[in-house]
Amino acid sequence: MTDAQTLEATASRAARLGRTRVPWFSLAFLVIVVVSAIFAPWIAPDDPELGRLRDRLIPPFWQEGGSMDHIFGTDLLGRDVFSRVVFGARISLAVGFLSVAIAGTVGSIIGMIAGYYKGWVDALLMRLTDMTLALPLILMAIVLVAILGSPSFSKVVLTIVILRWAFYARQVRGETLAVMEQPYIDLARISGASTRRILFRHVLPNVMPSLLVLATLNVALIILVEASLSFLGAGIPPPTPAWGLMVAEGRDLIKTSWWVSIIPGVAIFLTVLAVNLAGDWLRDRVDPRLRQI
């Protein structure tokens, strides 16, 4: 450990500068994305779903033929790409945070129960998590969306919760097992604390830090999954401006009008990168042990 610390300390100036500034850059970017999601109607210059066929496929302002009226250009139906990207932040962030919050809550309650009762309850719940986590996420997501029928915002969230709770349940169960060995749990029980009190007052606060780190990193993954689902046509249906859907709509125009698909694609990349960097920084701060996951 001391070896590593001296190494870190002598790391090049650039690396150190980067390491300290990156979280602030990414947090600043995240703030921009969150603000544009919340205040989308005031920030976007145009209605994201309103097409003007006369203004189709105008390039972004820095290219020939572009103007400041549509800084990121317009798509095939003449809709303003910048307004659609701003409104798209709503979908990505809402799906990301909401489904992680629900899956995290459900998963940690199930995980705490498994770690608390042990025995057959634990064995049964853990086989269930094995099964849920066995197949690739996007594959199962697209199948579930097909089974639930006509995709919508709430169905996408529900799908992700069904496929993702098990991830948190595993993690929380492991930590609960460790916490249950601590003497203060026995003391709490002797003093007459109920199961619910032990779980929420003594176990949960100990599990919380690593749960938060995992959840943050997972928001990035879920934003990617949502984007992939809508890219494949199995996510939130058009004309809602979801980023993945915008990339798909511009796919066939890649030869002539690259901005229709690349700009929302870059928006996904930067947002996911910012969440990942923030999560990474949080992990190093809170619990470097989690690096192994």
């Binding site: 650039a14 197949l135 690739p136 594959l139 089974i147 890219f231 494949l232 694609g265 996911v272 690096r291």
Partner: protein, 307 residues
């Protein structure tokens, strides 16, 4: 070891059975599959005939038993409602394209990840390490459809080096394999780096150095050989994941693999096809996990000689 393998084999069979059962009933949860095939203006007689041909006139429990018997005895997974052909025919046509793409992208991933992972472990904390780690986080954050589109834009549209899509000529595989391989290499690189760091700290590496073994030999022979163990194990899991999970990349490049088949089946609501594809991909997963256990036993004597 024999006992261990036997138990794992039984577990694999049980998982496979559970998978088939869950998928069968999940697909039927959405309602009567016959309703999607019967045109609204059809007479009662036509409707009854369609039900009889697809075996949908019997109770669900009986349908399940017939389905199980057909899967086990004839390896028959039903008939696609869209293509009107046996699902197994369509799957066997597509699986080669998927396997080919998976192998090619694994090569790309190893080619990128191993040197980067090893060098950033050796020069831990250096500028190189920092850039390599930044690359790995950025790689994990890039949606693969964006990478695919950018590659198409530059290498297929501007430079015209490779075809834009499909699987028509030998060069067609380059761009999809690069996209998938790049995506996988981020995780590989991180794993190689951390596993290498752990091994470089081990006593036998220090001993080799004290003995005066050439530094290159220490790193590439003594250390890497052991550091590769978790990477190899992980790569088998990744391999299975990209045989079935390359959905997005296959869609971007119109690569005729299993993922594309599944997306098309979902979009046309062709449930026997969805059911068959999921069962096949699940079976590949279960089989790979089983083989990983065997492989792990061979590579790691601690497990081979236990029990």
């Amino acid at each position: 070891m024999k006992r261990f393998l036997f138990v794992r084999f039984l577990q694999a069979i049980v998982s496979l059975f559970m998978l088939v059962t869950v998928v069968f009933f999940l697909v039927r949860l959405t309602g009567d599959p016959a309703l999607r095939m019967i045109p609204p203006q059809a007479t009662q007689e036509v409707a009854d005939n369609i039900r009889r041909v697809f075996g949908l006139d019997k109770p669900v429990g009986i349908q399940y038993l017939i389905f199980l018997r057909e899967v086990v005895l004839d390896f028959h997974l039903g008939t696609s409602q869209f293509f009107m052909r046996p699902v197994t025919d369509l799957l066997s046509m597509r699986i080669w394209a998927s396997l080919q793409l998976a192998v090619a992208s694994m090569f790309v991933a190893f080619f990128i990840a191993l040197p980067l992972g090893v060098y950033s472990a050796i020069r831990r904390g250096s500028r190189f390490d920092y850039i390599a780690r930044a690359f790995s986080i950025a790689g994990g954050s890039l949606p693969s459809f964006l990478v695919g589109l950018l590659l198409i834009r530059f290498f297929a549209v501007e430079l015209r080096w490779f075809p834009i899509c499909c699987r028509s000529e030998p060069l067609s595989i380059v761009l999809p394999a690069l996209t998938l391989g790049w995506f996988v290499s981020a995780a590989f690189m991180r794993l190689t780096r951390s596993s290498m760091l752990e091994v470089l700290d081990a006593e036998y590496v220090k001993l080799a150095r004290i003995k005066g073994v050439n530094e290159g030999l220490v790193i590439w022979k003594h250390a890497l050989k052991n550091a590769l163990l978790p990477v190899v194990t992980y790569s088998t899991v990744v391999f299975a994941a990209i045989v079935g999970g390359a959905i997005v990349v296959e869609t971007v490049f119109a690569w005729p693999g299993l993922g594309k088949l599944l997306v098309d089946a979902v979009l046309t609501r062709d449930f026997p096809m969805i059911q068959g594809t999921v069962i096949l991909i699940g079976a590949i997963f279960i089989a790979t996990n089983f083989m990983t256990d065997i492989l792990y036993g061979f590579l790691n004597p601690k497990i081979r000689f236990a029990r």
